[in-house]
């Protein structure tokens, strides 16, 4: 009786257009519970929590979303799986960490399932995510649910009033920030800030510094890499280019809220959407958060551009900056070298290889359901989901965005910036070698935090990152790391 009812239910849902997921049929996963871990929402967790009841109605599988603070996610999930506890059946985390999960055999290979899955509509997923982000050593282990690029957002109304163009270079950015700082831009009678960049330690600040340094360091296309020299694994952090990036990072603090050093992206997003900042550097989230009437006072006043670049770039042989020309910056636009940073790589779902087979199927079906165009196209337009566009159709179909409350102009600016990043031949890939957490979240993050706090000079900061990275590389094995680095970049 019960099963019959559910079939009718599912049937009516199908008729109503809420599509069945991943080929799963009604009641297929009756009694199955999937524990999925991700970081504390509401972002990322929210859409899954919201859609879990629909999924249960469709397939019978119950979905539990377990959340931990972002900084604990990598380790919690890894120790649960590597330690054999296996409380968690699947995780939604950074594809960048995949290497540490795949090497010990903790992640389920989903190449075959995905290849035969019509619901997941992989042809529609931007090639970067489909071919690179989801894969490791040619096999697919994760399903992208979110597209991630860092970009610069500016207030269009502020730009107009100041007569400034959207920033193309780092200098433009500072110039804009300086002009905008100290004036009241949201009409609350208090002076607002020129720039808000999340600089808190043990948060997301280490991606920002790479976003800034990228355009100075990487010029010859994606496979050149921004972290290490592909010849000998020498860190590219002790040179004039990185020094320039650090200087920019510190200079931008002058036009920022006094406690910028203690702000994580949550705080800066709130500042920007409440109209207190003229500029920010962030992932795609700002675009959709800015149209949420509950949170935002800057609807339709937000423009987005690809990360600012530089007309002087690093000469790797000498460690000095040289001017851009056809040889040094083959991909330059108007003499400015841009290197958009695919920071983090987009929240993606991966399945515990040691989970119960039935649960694995159910977890896969759930991710397939979440990534399906029907669900995804709606979620990427909602700010609080934390999901950003990653499907080709999401860039083309303007009706989606208009329906969500974006003006045509804002949508074009937002999607244009993401597409420019996505299509750039000089895109910067995030670090994906073993223990990249230690390189980025510990060594880089600590050194930059100390630099901002005035504990270290720029030279000492660079030295400290270089030494730390070298030491870690030697501990793990230099050849091993070099090979891993080259293979993630596709470098020869």
């Amino acid at each position: 009786m019960n099963a019959f009812k559910r079939m009718i239910w599912a049937g009516s849902l199908l008729a109503g257009g809420v599509l069945a997921a991943g080929g799963a049929s009604a009641g297929e996963f009756d009694g199955v519970t999937i524990n999925i871990m991700t970081f504390t929402g509401p972002q990322i967790a929210e859409p899954m929590q919201r859609r879990a009841p629909d999924f249960e109605k469709l397939t019978g599988a119950k979905v539990n979303i377990i959340t931990v603070p972002f900084s604990d996610l990598y380790q919690k999930l890894l120790t649960d799986w590597a330690g054999g506890t296996n409380s968690i059946d699947a995780g939604v985390f950074a594809p960048q960490w995949m290497v540490d999960y795949v090497t010990p055999g903790l992640l389920e290979d989903i190449s075959d399932r995905l290849a035969n899955d019509k619901q997941a509509a992989q042809d529609d997923v931007a090639p970067f995510f489909r071919e690179f982000s989801q894969k490791f050593n040619g096999k697919t282990y994760m399903i992208t649910l979110d597209g991630d690029f860092q970009m610069v957002y500016y207030r269009t109304d502020v730009a107009e009033k100041l007569g400034k163009k959207p920033p193309k270079t780092l200098d433009d950015y500072l110039d804009f920030a300086k002009a905008a700082n100290g004036q009241d831009w949201n009409g609350d009678g208090k002076p607002d800030y020129g720039s808000c960049i999340s600089k808190k330690r043990n948060a997301q600040a280490y991606w920002a510094i790479i976003s800034i340094a990228g355009g100075l360091i990487q010029t010859q296309g994606t496979s050149q890499g921004v972290f290490f020299d592909t010849k000998d694994m020498k860190p590219l952090v002790n040179n004039e280019a990185f020094a320039t990036a650090l200087k920019f990072y510190k200079d931008s603090t002058q036009y920022a809220p006094p406690d910028e050093i203690n702000l994580d992206v949550g705080d800066t997003r709130k500042l920007f959407t409440s109209g207190q900042c003229a500029l920010t550097l962030d992932w795609g989230d700002i675009g959709t958060l800015a149209i949420d009437p509950k949170e935002s006072t800057v609807q339709d006043k937000v423009g987005a551009v690809v990360l600012p670049g530089s007309s002087k770039v690093l000469d790797r042989a000498t460690g000095k900056l040289v001017a851009c020309d056809a040889k040094t910056c083959p991909y330059a636009v108007d003499g400015v070298n841009h290197a958009p940073f695919a920071a983090f790589g987009g929240w993606s779902g991966g399945i515990n290889a040691k989970a119960d087979p039935k649960v694995k199927d159910a977890a896969y079906a759930f991710f397939s359901f979440m990534t399906g165009p029907k669900q995804s196209n709606e979620d990427v337009t909602i700010g609080r989901t934390g999901f950003n566009p990653y499907r080709l159709s999401q860039f083309q179909d303007m009706t989606l965005w208009k329906k969500a409350g974006m003006s045509e102009k804002a949508a074009k600016s937002y999607l244009g910036a993401i597409q420019d990043s996505l299509n750039s031949p000089n895109m910067v890939l995030d670090l994906r070698i073993p223990q990249n957490q230690k390189y980025e979240q510990v060594i880089l993050d600590t050194a930059v935090a100390r630099f901002l706090a005035g504990e270290l000079s720029a030279e000492d900061t660079m030295k400290s990152i270089e030494d730390g990275w070298n030491e870690t590389t030697d501990e793990i094995g230099r050849d091993e790391q070099l090979a891993a680095y080259k293979s993630t970049l596709g470098a020869q």
Partner: protein
Amino acid sequence: MRASFSAWSERQADRLFVLPAVVVILAFSIFPLLLSAYLSVSRFKLAAGGYEFKFIGWLNYKKLLFGSEQFHFVGRFASVPLWCWAALALLLYWVGRALLLYLRSGHTSVLGLVGRLISAVTILGIAFLFATTLGQGGQLGSAGVTILYVVVGVAIQFAIGLGLALLCAQRIHGRAFFRLVFFLPLMVTPVGIAYAFRMLADMTQGPLSPIWHGLGLGAFSWASGAWSARIVVMVGDAWQWIPFIFIVMLAAIESQSKEQLEAASIDGASFWQRFRDITWPEIAPVAATVILIRMIEAFKIIDLPNILTNGGPGIATESMTLHSFIAWRTLDLGGSSAVAYMLLFLSTVFSVSFFNLIILPMRARRQ
């Protein structure tokens, strides 16, 4: 059968009574101590099919004390001003004299001497640490920051806690009310306190922001200054733990004999004289023990710096437990255990020295 069991359990009663406690403590202290010791001399690595530990000797410690993590643990050295050298010399003289006095005292034992030597070296080491890292261009590492939280933090908590106890011991109305209210902060989870103080300390939207603006500090943020951030951490810790000191000290003051106080009062002794000559000598041993308990707990601080600042700005508020925890987050189990072991060493030396050199003599003097 039943009878024989109860007879057996009766015969073994003395063992059975301590057995549960001894077994769990053994399982959760001896074993973890030894395992931690092993982890601290090894390197954890994920490998095909799981993970492996590689023995690397004392490399993890070397890194902390002399290598790439030195800045993080010990701090960064600065030039030491002359007066610091003088103070150090004075301390050295004082410690040396105390040791000499002990040697001449006639009841010297090997164990006592070794213990005192360890205490002396640790005290001098810490003094040297502060002298070298607090100067211009220097910086405290997580060890220094932890000791700061312990010594300065507990001193402040004790002073305020005792003060409140003295106030409450006066003949006042509503004592029960104050006693209950003052006890409240102890019940709040430290994580909650950390968040509450982040809200309170917010200089632009917090409740005190009009005051900051009034003082012209609107453009200043406590979170960006090393010392202001440390102070906020210590304020939060004090808010939680003053009640503990308060409640014990109040009980101590109330339980002292009243006749002497009364006599002194009739003789016209001032409040301060009565406190110094009568109350303090009587409550001093209790005070010392309360301080010891607080010190032991203060060494474990993590929640507050972790939530208030994530250890920042830079590494200014990072305690040793947080340092160890951050290493664990990236699965650097060896480094994490090494920091933890250093913490164990420090807190043991502190507590045992305090107990042997301050509390025991105090008790001996009373008897």
